[in-house]
C-alpha cells in the first residue's frame, strides 16, 4: 500500500470536500475536517506500527518520475526521524481542529476576513503539505513543499489573526521567501554541480566533494532552515506571527512548520554537506547557545502571553540546533525527540493560552491574575503546560532536554557551550513560573472574576496532550528505538562514527576485573 501518498491524499481530498460544503453549514465543515484528521491519524498510526526500526533506512518508499528532463521525482519515504515528525503532525492536527472550533470566526476587534470553512480547509491543506515535506526524498520536491506550506499559513495568519495580522503575515512571508530563495539557489546549484541529472536525495549524498562548494551550498540551505526554525538573529518574525496567529495556527506554525527547519539541518545540511557541516559547527553551536540564553532572557521580559511563548520556543530551537550539530548520537537522538516533545508542549501552552485569551479578550499578562481561584481546571492545565515548558522530570520535555545537554557535553569540544546552555534550565524556570504566577496567582483581578471553566470540548483538547507528554516522559523508549538507528546513520554519513569514549571506560574495566 502506498502509505505516504495516501497519508497526503486523504487530507488533500478532505480539504476539497470541506471547501465544497455550503458556507452556512459551518458545523458540517468542522465535523468533516475533524473526521478527516482522525482518519489521517489512524492511518499514520497503522503505518508507524509497520515501521521496522532495524530494517531499511528508508521505508514505505514510493518513486514516480515527475519532470524527467530535470530528473525530478515525486519520491517519498521515511526514516525514523521523519516518521516521528509525521506522527507529531498527525496527532496535533485533530487536536488543533477541536481547539479551533470557535476560533475561526475571529474576535470582535478583528473579525475573520474569510469564511469559517476555509480556515478548516486550510488546516487540511497544511496537513497534506506537512506530511509531504517530511516524506519527500527528492530535494526539489522537498523544496516545493517547503515553500508551498507558506501559503496556507499566510492565509491563516493574514485572514484569521489578531489586529495586526497583515503586518505579521507579510513579515512571515517575506522572511520565509528570503530563506526559500537562498535555498532554491542552493538546490539548483546542487543539481548543476553534482551533475547527476537527479534530485533524489539518496543519490546526491556524497556527490559534492569540493569543500568550497559544499560551504556555499550549506549556507544556502542552512540560512533557509535557520529562518524557518528561527535561530537568533533570524528570529524576529516569529513573535509577531505567533502573537497574531489564531492559537491553533500558532500551534501548527511553531509546533510543526518550524520543525522543518531543524529537520532540514539534520537531513540535508549534515548528509549532503558533511565537510561544510563540520566546518560551520562552531558557528552554529555559538548561534544556538546565544539563542538559548537570549531567547529565554527576552521571554522573561515579555508582556504579551503569546509573544512570551514564541520567545521560549526560540530558546528551545537553540537547544534543538545545538543537539543536531553537537555530533554525538546522544545529542542527535535527543534533538530529534526534542522536536517531537516541543511540538506537544508548546502546543499545549499555545492552546491553553488561547482558551484564556478567548475568555478574557486580552493577550496582556497584566490583564490577568488569580485565575487559579476562579477556574482551577483551566489554571491546572496552564500550570501543566508551563511545567512542560520548563522541562520538569516526569514530563517528555525533560527527557529530550537532558539528553541534548548531556550529549553536547559528551563532545568535549563544546563543553563550554553545554555548560552555558544548561544554565537555560534556570532561566526557563523563571519565564514559565513567573508567567504562571502573574496569570494565576494572587487574588482574582476584576476582569478575571467572571471567566468560565474549561468546557467539555476544551478538556478533550488538553487531555491527549497531557497524556502524551506524561507517557513520553515516563517511557520514551519506543520513540528512541525508532530514532536511534536513523540518527546514527545520519551522523555516520556526516563522518561521525562513534561518540567520544568516557575517560574511564567502566565497561572495559569491569570486563578486565572479571
Amino acid at each position: 500500500m502506498p502509505w505516504l501518498s495516501t497519508l497526503m491524499a486523504v487530507p488533500a481530498v478532505g480539504a476539497v470536500a470541506v471547501a465544497a460544503v455550503p458556507k452556512r453549514n459551518e458545523t458540517l465543515a468542522k465535523q468533516l475536517t475533524f473526521a478527516v484528521s482522525l482518519v489521517v491519524l489512524a492511518l499514520a498510526a497503522v503505518m508507524a506500527a509497520q515501521f521496522n526500526p532495524g530494517g531499511d533506512r528508508l521505508q514505505f518508499t514510493e518513486t514516480y518520475s515527475w519532470i524527467p528532463s530535470f530528473g525530478i521525482h515525486f519520491a517519498l519515504g521515511v526514516d525514523g526521524v521523519a516518521l516521528v515528525l509525521i506522527l507529531l503532525s498527525a496527532l496535533l492536527v485533530p487536536i488543533v481542529v477541536l481547539a479551533s472550533w470557535n476560533e475561526a470566526a475571529g474576535t470582535p476587534e478583528a473579525p475573520a476576513k474569510r469564511s469559517v470553512k476555509t480556515y478548516f480547509a486550510l488546516i487540511l491543506v497544511l496537513e497534506a503539505m506537512m506530511i509531504g515535506v517530511f516524506a519527500a526524498t527528492d530535494v526539489f520536491l522537498f523544496y516545493v513543499f517547503f515553500e508551498a506550506m507558506l501559503i496556507p499559513m499566510y492565509f491563516m495568519i493574514g485572514s484569521y489573526g489578531g489586529a495586526q495580522r497583515s503586518y505579521a503575515a507579510v513579515k512571515f512571508l517575506l522572511y520565509s521567501l528570503l530563506g526559500g530563495l537562498l535555498m532554491l539557489v542552493a538546490v539548483i546549484g546542487l543539481y548543476v554541480i553534482a551533475g547527476k541529472n537527479t534530485f533524489l536525495h539518496t543519490e546526491l549524498i556524497g556527490a559534492i566533494t569540493d569543500p568550497g562548494v559544499q560551504r556555499w551550498l550549506f549556507l544556502g540551505f542552512f540560512i533557509a532552515f535557520a529562518i524557518k526554525a528561527p535561530l537568533v538573529p533570524f528570529h524576529t518574525w516569529l513573535p509577531d506571527s505567533a502573537a497574531q496567529a489564531p492559537a491553533g495556527a500558532a500551534v501548527l506554525l511553531v509546533g510543526v512548520l518550524d520543525k522543518v527547519g531543524t529537520y532540514g539541518m539534520l537531513r540535508f545540511c549534515l548528509e549532503l554537506f558533511p565537510d561544510a557541516s563540520r566546518f560551520f559547527t562552531p558557528l552554529v553551536i555559538t548561534l544556538a547557545v546565544i539563542g538559548i540564553i537570549y531567547g529565554a532572557i527576552v521571554a522573561i521580559g515579555q508582556t504579551d502571553i503569546k509573544r512570551l511563548i514564541a520567545y521560549t520556543s526560540i530558546s528551545h530551537f537553540g537547544f534543538i540546533a545545538m543537539g543536531v550539530f553537537a555530533m554525538t548520537t546522544t545529542a542527535g537522538a535527543g534533538a530529534t525527540l526534542y522536536m517531537v516533545n516541543h511540538g506537544f508542549a508548546t502546543g499545549a501552552l499555545f492552546l491553553v493560552a488561547g482558551f484564556l485569551i478567548q475568555r478574557r479578550g486580552s493577550q496582556y499578562i497584566s490583564d490577568y491574575g488569580g485565575v487559579q481561584k476562579v477556574t482551577p481546571v483551566l489554571a491546572g492545565s496552564f500550570l501543566f503546560a508551563c511545567l512542560a515548558g520548563t522541562a520538569v522530570p516526569g514530563l517528555a520535555t525533560f527527557v529530550s532536554e537532558f539528553t541534548v545537554l548531556i550529549g553536547t557535553f559528551q563532545n568535549r569540544t563544546y563543553l563550554v557551550a553545554a555548560v552555558i546552555a544548561t544554565f537555560g534550565v534556570v532561566l526557563s524556570a523563571i519565564y514559565m513560573l513567573w508567567l504562571y504566577q502573574r496569570v494565576a496567582g494572587g487574588p482574582p483581578s476584576e476582569g478575571v472574576k467572571s471567566l468560565g471553566e474549561l468546557n467539555g470540548r476544551e478538556k478533550w483538547v488538553m487531555a491527549p496532550l497531557i497524556a502524551v507528554i506524561l507517557a513520553l516522559g515516563v517511557y520514551p523508549k519506543p520513540l528512541f528505538d525508532v530514532i536511534n538507528p536513523s540518527v546514527t546513520q545520519t551522523l555516520s554519513i556526516a563522518g561521525v562514527t562513534q561518540d567520544p569514549e568516557p575517560t574511564l571506560n567502566v565497561a572495559v574495566q569491569r570486563g578486565a576485573g572479571q
Binding site: 521567501l177 546549484g189 491546572g380 557535553f409 561518540d499
Partner: protein, 635 residues
C-alpha cells in the same frame, strides 16, 4: 571498610519495592484526575496510600535484615528507561541500608503528617488537592532515595522540588505565597544546574550514571575530576538543603501550610543534600578538597542558621533557621567521610522526628491562635494546650541535646567526629550547639511560658486527637530515636554495607570535654533565654535592636545580596535585551526592508503585491544568482 557489592534482586518484597513509589503516585494521580469527585474521601485515600507505602517499606526492611551483611545492597531492575544514542539508562531501585533508612523516615513521618493534616486542613476547601500534592511529594522523594542511578536521583530531586513548589504556593491567592513558591523553585534550579553538570561529568568520566558502576570505579578516576564532580554535586546539595549560599528560599518557604513545613522543609526533602553527599561517598573520598568545602559549607551554615533563628519572631521562621542549622550539622558530618556518615544520617533521622514534632506543634499553636505566627502574641500557652506543650517540649529538649534524648546522642557524635578530624570544625559545632540552646529556648519560652500576650479575639484550645496523636508519636521518636541509633553503634553497623566504615569506628563517649562544654553552653543559653523571655515581660512589638539583631532579622542580608547581585542586574539585562530585540534586531530588519523598498509607503505596496508575483520573483532571482555563479565559473 569498603561498602558491600551491589547484587541483583528478583523476588520477595524487595523485588516489589517499586510499590512504595507506585502507591502514593497512584494516589496523587487519582486525586488530581478525578478532581472534585474525590473531595469527600480524598484525604483518606491519600493517607491510606502513604500508610501502605510505609507498610511496604517496613516489610522490605525486615526482609533486608534477613540477609547477611554482605548481601544487603540489592538492586531491583525495573525497565529500560532512556536509550538515547550512547547514553543509556536502565531504571532500577537500590534497596540498601542507606536507602531503606530514608524510605522508612519518609513514609513513616510522612504518614503521621498525612494524618495530622486531616485535622489541620479540615476547613480548607482544597484539602483534597493538598493530599494529592503530599502523595506526589512522597512518591518523588522515594524516587530520589531509591533510584539506583544518578538520573533517577535527579528525577526525584526535581520532582520533590515541584511538589515543594506546589505546596509552598498552595495558597496561590496570597501573592506572598505565589512569590515564595517561585523563588524556591528558581533557587533550587540554580542548585540543579550544578547537579546536572555533575551528572554530565560523571557520565563523560565513567560512561554510565548507575551507582553500581560509578561508585565501584570512583577510585580509578583522577582526583581533579572527582573534585569537580564533588563540587558540582555540592552545589546541588546546597540548593535542596538550603545551605549557604543557596539558603535564601527556605525561610520564605514557610508560606506553605504548616504540615508542609514539617514534612518537606524540615524532616525529609531538605535533607536530600545529605543523602546525595553520603551516597556519593566514594567520589568525595577521592576528592579531599571537595570534602573540605563540604565541611566548611556545613559549618558556616550551622552558625548562620542559628544566628537567624535567634532573631525571628515568626515561630515558623525561627524553626526554619534551626532547620538550616541542623542540616548544617549533617552536611558537616557527611563531609568528614566514613567517620561521619552514620552520624549524619542518625542526626538526620532524629531531626526528622523532633523537628516534625515541633513544626506540627507550631501548627497546633497556630491552629489555636487564629493562624497567628508572631511569638510576641503568644505566651503562657502551656496550660491551655498541655499535649502540644508536652510534645513540643520533648522535641525542644531533644534538639538542644539534653541527655539522654535523641539530639544529645546524635549531635554530640557529630561534634566528636568533627573534633577528631579538625578541632576548628569541632569547636564551631560546639558553639553552634550553644546558640541552639539559646534560640530554641527563646521559642519555647515565648510560646508556652511568660505572660499571655494574646490578641483580643484569641481563644486557644487543644487540637483534636487526629492532630495530637501524631505529635505524641513523633515526640516518642524524639526521645528514644537517638539512643537507639547511636548507643552501641547499632546504626553505624547497619549502615556499614552501604557507606563503608572507618578503620577505627568512633565509639560514643557519654562524658568528654567537648560534650561537657556543649552542655554547659546549652544550659547557659537556655538560662539567658529564661531571664529574657520568661521572667521579664516580652514587648508585643519587637524592639529595634542592635545592628547584629537587624543583621539576623534580615537573614544575614542574604536576600539583599541576591537582589543587588543577581535580581536587579538580571532585570536590567532583561529590559535591555527586550529593547534591543524590538529596536535593534527587528529595527534593523525593518529598516533594511524599507531602505531596499525605497520608502516605507512603497514597501507596503510591494508587500501587498508580493504574493501574486511570488513565484515569478523567486524564479527570476534564483535564475539570476545561478547564472552569475555559472558565469564566474567557480567559487
Amino acid at each position: 571498610m569498603q561498602p558491600a557489592e551491589i547484587i541483583t534482586e528478583t523476588g520477595g518484597v524487595i523485588g516489589a519495592s517499586w510499590l512504595m513509589i507506585a502507591l502514593p503516585a497512584v494516589g496523587a494521580a487519582i486525586l488530581l484526575l478525578f478532581g472534585r469527585l474525590t473531595d469527600r474521601w480524598g484525604h483518606l485515600l491519600g493517607t491510606a496510600m502513604s500508610l501502605a507505602s510505609f507498610a511496604v517499606a517496613v516489610l522490605a526492611f525486615v526482609e533486608l535484615l534477613g540477609f547477611d551483611e554482605a548481601e544487603r545492597r540489592r538492586q531491583v531492575m525495573l525497565y529500560d528507561f532512556l536509550p538515547a544514542g550512547s547514553f543509556h539508562v536502565e531504571m532500577g531501585l537500590l534497596i540498601d541500608p542507606l536507602s531503606i533508612s530514608f524510605a522508612l523516615l519518609i513514609t513513616g513521618v510522612g504518614s503521621l503528617i498525612h494524618i495530622y493534616s486531616i485535622g489541620y486542613m479540615a476547613h480548607d476547601e482544597k484539602r483534597r488537592k493538598f493530599f494529592a500534592y503530599l502523595n506526589l511529594f512522597v512518591a518523588a522523594m522515594l524516587v530520589l532515595v531509591l533510584a539506583d542511578n544518578y538520573l533517577g536521583l535527579y528525577i526525584g530531586w526535581e520532582g520533590v522540588g515541584l511538589a515543594s513548589y506546589l505546596l509552598i504556593g498552595f495558597w496561590q491567592h496570597k501573592p506572598s505565597a505565589a512569590t515564595a513558591a517561585k523563588k524556591a523553585f528558581v533557587v533550587n534550579r540554580v542548585g540543579d544546574f550544578g547537579l546536572a553538570l555533575g551528572i554530565f561529568t560523571i557520565f563523560t568520566t565513567f560512561g554510565t550514571v548507575a551507582y553500581k558502576d560509578v561508585l565501584a570505579n570512583a577510585g580509578a578516576a583522577e582526583q581533579v575530576t572527582l573534585t569537580v564532580i564533588g563540587l558540582l554535586l555540592l552545589l546541588g546539595a546546597c540548593g535542596k538543603s538550603a545551605q549557604l549560599p543557596l539558603q535564601s528560599w527556605l525561610l520564605d518557604a514557610m508560606e506553605g501550610p504548616t504540615p508542609v513545613s514539617a514534612l518537606i522543609h524540615a524532616a525529609t526533602m531538605v535533607t536530600a543534600g545529605v543523602y546525595l553527599i553520603t551516597r556519593s561517598g566514594a567520589i568525595y573520598e577521592g576528592a579531599p578538597t571537595a570534602q573540605l568545602v563540604v565541611t566548611i559549607v556545613g559549618a558556616a551554615t550551622l552558625i548562620a542558621g542559628a544566628i537567624i533563628g535567634c532573631a525571628k519572631d515568626d515561630i515558623k521562621k525561627a524553626l526554619a533557621g534551626s532547620t538550616m542549622s541542623q542540616i548544617g550539622y549533617m552536611v558537616l558530618a557527611a563531609g568528614l567521610g566514613p567517620i561521619g556518615y552514620a552520624f549524619a544520617i542518625a542526626h538526620l533521622i532524629a531531626h526528622g522526628f523532633f523537628k516534625a514534632a515541633m513544626f506540627l506543634g507550631a501548627g497546633s499553636v497556630m491552629h489555636a491562635m487564629n493562624d497567628e505566627v508572631d511569638m510576641r502574641r503568644y505566651g503562657g500557652l502551656r496550660t491551655v494546650m498541655p499535649i502540644t506543650f508536652a510534645t513540643f517540649g520533648l522535641g525542644y529538649l531533644a534538639i538542644i541535646g539534653i541527655p539522654p534524648l535523641s539530639g544529645w546522642f546524635t549531635k554530640d557524635s557529630i561534634i566528636e567526629a568533627a573534633m577528631h578530624v579538625s578541632p576548628v570544625l569541632g569547636w564551631v559545632a560546639v558553639i553552634g550547639a550553644g546558640i541552639t540552646g539559646f534560640y530554641m529556648s527563646r521559642v519555647m519560652f515565648m510560646t508556652f511560658f511568660g505572660e499571655k500576650r494574646w490578641a483580643s479575639d484569641a481563644h486557644p484550645h487543644e487540637s483534636p486527637k487526629v492532630m495530637t496523636w501524631p505529635l505524641i508519636l513523633l515526640s516518642v521518636g524524639s526521645v528514644l530515636g537517638g539512643g537507639l541509633l547511636i548507643a552501641g553503634g547499632t546504626f553505624a553497623e547497619f549502615l556499614r554495607p552501604a557507606v563503608g566504615a572507618p578503620e577505627e569506628p568512633l565509639a560514643f563517649h557519654p562524658v568528654s570535654v567537648p560534650g561537657i562544654v556543649t552542655i554547659v553552653l546549652v544550659l547557659a543559653g537556655a538560662a539567658y533565654a529564661w531571664t529574657k523571655y520568661a521572667k521579664s515581660p516580652v514587648p508585643e512589638v519587637a524592639p529595634r535592636g542592635s545592628f547584629l539583631t537587624t543583621f539576623a532579622r534580615r537573614d544575614l542580608y542574604g536576600d539583599a545580596l541576591n537582589e543587588s547581585l543577581f535580581m536587579r542586574p538580571g532585570q536590567w539585562l532583561t529590559r535591555l535585551a527586550v529593547f534591543f530585540d524590538n529596536r535593534g534586531v527587528d529595527g534593523i530588519v525593518n529598516g533594511l526592508a524599507a531602505a531596499i523598498g525605497g520608502t516605507s509607503g512603497r514597501l507596503r505596496r510591494i508587500q501587498t503585491g508580493f504574493v501574486r508575483s511570488y513565484a515569478l520573483s523567486v524564479f527570476l532571482g534564483a535564475a539570476a544568482v545561478v547564472g552569475a555563479l555559472l558565469a564566474v565559473g567557480s567559487f
